[in-house]
């Protein structure tokens, strides 16, 4: 089978893609996510179509019910709810993807180093990982998010810029989100390190960096992709929690988390304002989790449904 003709030209990726398409839940989730991403990207187009801009305040039509001009109604300042949901989605999805990527990069580097070097470096890095995993993260993140950037010695121009919230939340999540990937990559590295093709590279005289990047990393890529996909959902949740608590993305920039928090105050009068952003978070997160699970089963049917979860 390994050398058979039927496999010719079809790498492991093809097989994985085929199994993924066969997984109905994952396929539906993928379609849903793609639709969501397209919609979010098309937000400026939607703005032109309905004739409003995202942060146009219209105090005369506050909390308006859905209409042709405002398909999802307006919020407490008369801003168009649909546009805010779309622009907020941009932020939430962007944070989810970039923070997941940053965590994955950090975790991969730490895991590779620990697994390949072994010994004291490994022991130190893995105790550190255990420590971070065991901590009550949310309270600590709240402290971290409450830190005054001006006191960190950042120049005022950066400390007060509007996009700081975005960068900060990505950095904070990456700072604690790398642990799963680090453990995973370390374990994969430990087993790959003893494989003969790695020994062969060492016999050729390859250095540690080359062995880690050319020989170990490409063979560890699929579990890393699965773990990263599975982490995106948890990260979007985390962003929403922090923004909801007033520590993430700061208004007037919309994110699903801070929209939900804004909607909370008007919950008894206009429950829809709190319902929409929460529902979108829920949809995006469950879609990412189902895709991650699908990818995992496609790669290794036995390991499916084990490691998904909150990061």
């Amino acid at each position: 089978m390994r050398a058979g003709n039927e496999d010719r030209g079809r790498g492991p990726w093809h097989l994985m893609a085929e199994r993924l398409v066969a997984d109905r839940l994952a396929f539906v989730s993928l379609a849903l996510l793609l639709a969501l991403v397209l919609l979010v990207l098309a937000a400026p187009l939607v703005a032109v179509l309905i004739g409003h801009r995202v942060n146009d305040v219209d105090l005369l039509s506050r909390l308006a019910p859905p209409s042709l001009g405002h398909p999802f109604g307006t919020d407490e300042l008369g801003r168009d709810e649909l546009l805010r949901l779309l622009y907020g989605g941009r932020v939430s999805l962007l944070v989810g993807l970039t923070a997941a990527l940053a965590s994955a990069v950090l975790g991969t580097a730490i895991g590779l180093l620990a697994g390949y070097r072994g010994g004291l470096i490994d022991a130190f890095l893995m105790r550190m990982t255990d420590g971070v995993i065991a901590l009550p993260l949310l309270p600590l993140l709240i402290v971290l998010a409450a830190v005054d950037p001006a006191k960190l010695g950042l120049p005022a121009a950066i400390a007060q810029s509007a996009s700081l919230g975005l960068y900060r939340i990505i950095a904070i999540i990456a700072l604690v989100g790398w642990t799963r990937t680090a453990r995973l990559v370390r374990n994969v590295t430990l087993s790959l390190r003893e494989r003969e093709f790695v020994l062969a590279a060492r016999a050729e005289g390859a250095g540690a960096l080359r062995i880690m990047t050319v020989h170990i990393l490409p063979n560890a890529v699929s579990p890393i992709i699965v773990a990263t996909t599975l982490s995106i959902g948890g990260i979007i949740l985390f962003e929403s929690v922090l923004s909801f608590l007033g520590l993430g993305i700061q208004p007037p920039q919309a994110s699903w988390g801070n929209m939900l928090s804004g909607g909370l105050e008007l919950f008894t009068t206009s429950p829809a304002l709190a319902f929409y952003p929460g529902a979108l978070i829920f949809l995006a997160v469950i879609a990412f989790n189902l895709i991650g699970d699908g990818l995992q089963s496609a790669l290794d049917p036995r390991a499916s449904r084990r490691d998904a979860g909150r990061s």
Binding site: L25, G131, I133, A134, L135, P136, L137, L138, P139, L140, I142, V143, L144, A146, V147, D148, A150, K151, L152, G233, L237, S240, V241, F244, L245, G246, L260, L264, F267, T268, P271, A274, G278, A279, I281, F282, V285, I286, N289, L290, D293, R305, R306, A308, G309, R310
Partner: protein, 317 residues
């Protein structure tokens, strides 16, 4: 065994010490200190007064000296005063700890009571109808934004149906046991929905793993009833890794509690931590965060001890 526990406790102390440095440093980086707050509350204070007050509270010292002072006092049993409550920190903390214990404890037991039969049932017929439903439910459970879930529960059971109170711990002036239980229902439900999914998934996965082992096949071949295979042979072994995961997940449970308590205005540790950070009540925040860390570490240790007790192959010596 004693030695193992002693080493683990020592490690935990070390982690706590490191965490106290980190948290103290981070709190020092948060905007505003108590005197700034006094100043904004009472603009009549002169700069001389401010300087005097700062030196009185030791706030003019460098951060590390302030930390050492704090550590010295804390080790001698003086954890300081809560600014917002004007009470010693422990007097504020301990009752809240009790409240959280009620919330977390009942939700934990309820989660287990649900996860055990559901997880075993799903694993009994993998890919069956129950399994598919459980799978989807679990994904929903780990994907739902926790505060949104709380909001939906409040909207449905409190605003629409009026069955349960939307927040607080007791009706002012009542405070009977029944009243307090009524107040617990929604927060416990919210927290349970959040944690039961994780437990169920782990249990199901571990059950499937164990059920594919040789000794289970042997048991089946010998004619042991399916019920006994599931409960006697498989469940006991599947529980071992699940216990570890539950211990490790205590931190996540605590995060869930923070959100749930905040949403339901339930006066527990989680809400206290959030309020104290937001309200610049530094002494309180410091001690409460360390308490949370300590409890998480303790939960990990207890889980490891429980695993050692459940699994005779693992020696903790």
């Amino acid at each position: 065994m004693t030695r193992y526990v002693a080493i683990r406790l020592f490690q935990a102390l070390l982690v706590l010490l490191v965490m106290s440095v980190v948290i103290y440093g981070l709190i020092g980086l948060m905007p505003g200190d108590p005197i700034d707050l006094m100043l904004s509350a009472d603009p009549k204070l002169t700069p001389a007064d401010v300087a005097h007050l700062k030196s009185l509270y030791g706030l003019d010292l460098p951060l590390y000296e302030r930390y050492l002072n704090w550590l010295g006092a804390a080790l001698s049993g003086d954890l300081g005063y809560s600014r917002a409550f004007a009470k010693p920190v422990l007097d504020v903390l301990l009752p809240r700890l009790g409240n959280s214990a009620w919330l977390l404890g009942s939700s934990f037991l309820l989660s287990l009571a649900l996860a055990l039969p559901v997880g075993v049932g799903a694993a009994a017929r993998p890919q069956g109808r129950l399994d598919a439903a459980v799978n989807l439910f679990c994904f929903a459970g780990i994907s739902v934004p926790p505060f949104w879930l709380a909001l939906l529960l409040i909207g449905l059971f409190s605003v629409e149906l009026g069955w349960f109170p939307a927040g607080g711990m007791e009706t002012v002036g009542d405070g009977s046991l029944g009243d307090r239980v009524l107040h617990l229902v929604l927060p416990v439900l919210a927290l349970t929905l959040l944690s039961v999914a994780g437990f169920t998934r782990y249990l199901r996965a571990e059950m499937l793993e164990v059920l594919s082992q040789d000794y289970v096949r042997t048991a089946r071949a010998k004619g042991v009833s399916e019920r006994n295979v599931l409960l006697k042979h498989a469940l006991r072994n599947a529980l071992i890794p699940v216990v570890t995961v539950i211990g490790l997940d205590f931190g996540a449970l605590f995060s869930g509690a923070l959100i749930t308590e905040t949403m339901f205005a339930y006066p527990g540790m989680g809400k206290l931590i959030y309020d104290s950070i937001m309200g610049n009540d530094f002494n309180l925040a410091m001690v409460a965060l360390l308490f949370a860390t300590f409890m998480t570490l303790a939960a990990n240790l207890l889980a490891d001890l429980a695993v050692g007790w459940l699994d005779p192959r693992i020696s903790l010596a």
